[in-house]
Symmetry: C2
Subunit: 269 residues, 2 copies
């Protein structure tokens, strides 16, 4: 059983179907619920979006990482082609409001800017927004969601591919309670905090650079209540099966104030 | 004349009043409008939020930096103490919906989580949300905004200080069309893009580290349409009045694919 945020037709569902041969999906309302379901043992796996190539990091998910115990065991890069959907018979000129996830709205910023009279309203998930639009019965409401949501919720495609760019990808992670390193794992994710003094982040990065390893992601999130102090998230192209990488982990652990090894996994293309 | 996003009572207004002795504020609907007003010479200055100590970077503002010509000439750190406001006579138990800016909602995440039946709806600005709540006449609607908004819009304070932490600060920048470096400027902001190859970000950081300079902020934003390539924003504690810093700027310019010198300014505490 895999926990996902949203409802049927969510992009997380497509990812689950790629990651698991028979994915029995349990839909949750929030990202926090997905983490909790895995932490409490209700679901062995959870799938979460982490970063989009247009809108950037899903910072809510990063902030939840600090609050839960989990490991990253799989990952996938998923193409995201948003469509504009509405009840059959609706014309674009009828539309006064568009609902979707906040990140999806940002990925379609150019389309929304070209239609300044249409109000964009964020909702918790693209598929949840599609279900909402279908139920509403409103002919002045459209939704930005996947093409699959049209068939699922009886909506028509008003516009194909409303993304700013055709190259729109979201990276998803699959979390589990325990650390499992599958064959082919080539990416390590770490959560680190470093002292608030000049050069501390740089010193951590030096450790990685001298090993010739590639840092594919560096995310910093503020530590609430602190005066612009940060928690760092590193993704490194490496495998803990290498002795030199295990030595690096030890060095980082010693250098950082706190370090959490989030996992070592492969990212499906 | 200073362009700000929002309406009277916005946190940007407090910042303008600190930055300018007689601030004649022109309120705009969007952050993009603030950049445009300065770029087109309609307003000599514009004030924009850039980062919050609880919710993190205002990524929309970072993404707009690439689209406009401007310089950063001033900055300020502003304490943000949100209150829960509603029409007089409203009880917390009546409230079914809370409106505010998305960042403000995140800064009050614990309060919202403790009231799961109340729906949180993002709006473009805290003061705009307060004006909306006042106009609505609804007694099931509350708003998260500054205490000043209560008096301005005839609302009552239902709850004081609904932030997750008492230490909630937002950093604001003041932009102008031309580069001006005022006396006391000690912070440099740069926008850089580096080749998509291992270690390129690290090499840029090395240049700063060898000079013993402190990198106070490193933000990465995806370049839309690219395969997870990034544009980097650096804040460095330095002054271009120092010859060694001017030499560093030359080195970074040579090393990076592209570098924009955004400004050298002082941040008011």
């Amino acid at each position: 059983m895999v926990a996902c945020q949203g409802t049927e037709g969510a992009y997380s569902q497509k990812v689950c179907d790629r990651m698991f041969e028979f994915a029995d999906i349990l839909y949750m309302n929030t990202f926090n619920d997905v983490f909790s379901a895995v932490e409490k043992g209700m679901c062995p796996f959870g799938v979460l979006p982490i970063e989009n190539s247009t809108a950037g990091s899903v910072t809510q998910v990063y902030d939840l990482m600090e609050k839960h115990r989990f490991h990253i065991v799989k990952a996938a890069r998923q193409r995201v082609d948003h469509c504009l959907l509405a009840l059959p018979g609706t014309q674009l000129s009828d539309v006064k409001e568009i609902v979707s996830h906040e990140q999806a709205l940002r990925q379609c910023g150019a389309f929304l800017a070209a239609h300044p009279k249409i109000r964009a309203t964020p909702m918790e998930n693209t598929a949840v927004a599609a279900a909402h639009a279908a139920r509403s019965g409103r002919r002045d409401l459209a939704v930005i969601a996947s093409r699959d949501c049209a068939a699922l919720y009886g909506l028509s495609v008003l516009r194909d591919d409303v993304c700013d760019t055709g190259n729109n990808f979201t990276r998803f992670i699959c979390i589990a309670k325990d650390l499992t390193v599958y064959e082919g794992a080539n990416k390590i994710s770490l959560m680190l905090s470093a002292a608030h003094r000049p050069g501390s982040l740089y010193r951590l990065m030096s450790r990685i650079a001298v090993q010739g390893l590639n840092l594919t992601k560096l995310e910093s999130r503020p530590i609430p209540g602190k005066d612009f102090e940060f928690r760092f998230f590193f993704d490194i192209e490496a495998s803990i099966r290498d002795a030199s990488v295990r030595a690096l982990m030890g060095q980082l652990q010693a250098e950082a104030d706190q370090m959490v090894f989030l996992g070592n996994y492969e990212e499906m293309r």
